[in-house]
Symmetry: C2
Subunit: 172 residues, 2 copies
DNA sequence: ACAGCCATGTAACTTGTTACATGATTTT
DNA sequence: AAAATCATGTAACAAGTTACATGGCTGT
């Protein structure tokens, strides 16, 4: 539900038209998550259906401006207030993969762990390189994202190591 | 796409019927991700449509058994082979929330960071408690999941701290 | 008898996503 | 004049999810 609420957040600052929402979202998230324009329009239609935004017809011009409504602001506030994730934690594809490989013996868990570690360490290096090249003054969003990705990747590698230890202990 | 591939993984071990797939998935993932039975049947229909599984009619009985096909095994192998995530990293709702709060000034970022930290630390304590109560011999999947959740939560808290530092430095 | 689990399936729906058609405006 | 970007929208679909209808089988 990130896209919905992201559009609301941008519209909370000031009214905008569809394409502007796309560019604004991408700018604010340092361009890391490209947002298909088509999706902006479908999402806006759904937000309008739910009464969270309204179009402002400017004499039938092609550019349609959208405003957030009171219920829209309430929905946005609720989103900001509610902590992310929790109970049950969202599905973790990597965990599912490993657990099923072990449980069903339909793949070699050790090999999956190794592949994943290689890929994740490579990503980690890229993040480090990007951070070196980033300007802390003007690219704060980008740096915050790199922080997030790096910490996640590090946690993932720790988990892969721990899996190997626990699984090895079992079979060895 | 975790559900699709999970069903394939289970069917790769031996044929099964819909309800059995549900129970098996939940058992193998320590019951943490409840799987609605209805979803198993809709997913099986889609897998059949794509030629990855075939039903085995046992003389018209109610219990329908499903087998994995050659292409099904290939799809499963491809899933196991491909490392998870990467490029671009999947959307991170927490990161989006913080970044948009900062960029659009539609919410107090400091408050969000604090809320989130409180919630995540609470979860962390629960994980620790669960791990104390878990039996390493018989509950390996559960323990691996707790490891994953714990490491993720710790990474999240580190990120929240780092955000506060970087944002504070800017405005202070 | 009846509660609870085993079992199958359909309908309706959500969010996210892409591909396509169409044209205006701006920059080179 | 051509290319790039701005701009709007529709159609179709994927994957996930829930609610509902239906019934058999098992243990108390």
């Amino acid at each position: 539900m990130s896209v919905r609420h992201s559009l609301l957040a941008i519209l909370a600052e000031r009214p905008a038209h569809g394409y502007g929402l796309k560019s604004r979202f991408e700018r604010d998230t340092a361009g890391i998550w490209p947002l298909n324009v088509g999706q902006v329009y479908t999402t806006l239609a759904r937000l309008e259906r739910d009464g969270l935004v309204v179009p402002r017809d400017d004499g039938g011009g092609a550019r349609q401006e959208w405003r957030i409504t009171k219920p829209g602001r309430a929905a946005l506030a609720a989103w900001y207030d509610a902590p992310v994730a929790g109970d049950p934690p969202e599905r973790d594809e990597l965990a599912i993969k490993i657990l099923l490989a072990v449980a069903t013996r339909s793949a070699d868990a050790g090999r999956i762990l190794q592949n994943q570690r290689t890929a994740t360490m490579r990503r980690l290096q890229e993040y480090t390189r990007h951070r070196r090249e980033a300007d802390p003054e003007r690219e704060l969003p980008w740096i915050l994202l790199l922080d997030a990705f790096t910490l996640k990747a590090e946690a993932e590698i720790k988990w892969l190591d721990r899996c190997e230890a626990r699984l090895g202990r079992r079979s060895g």
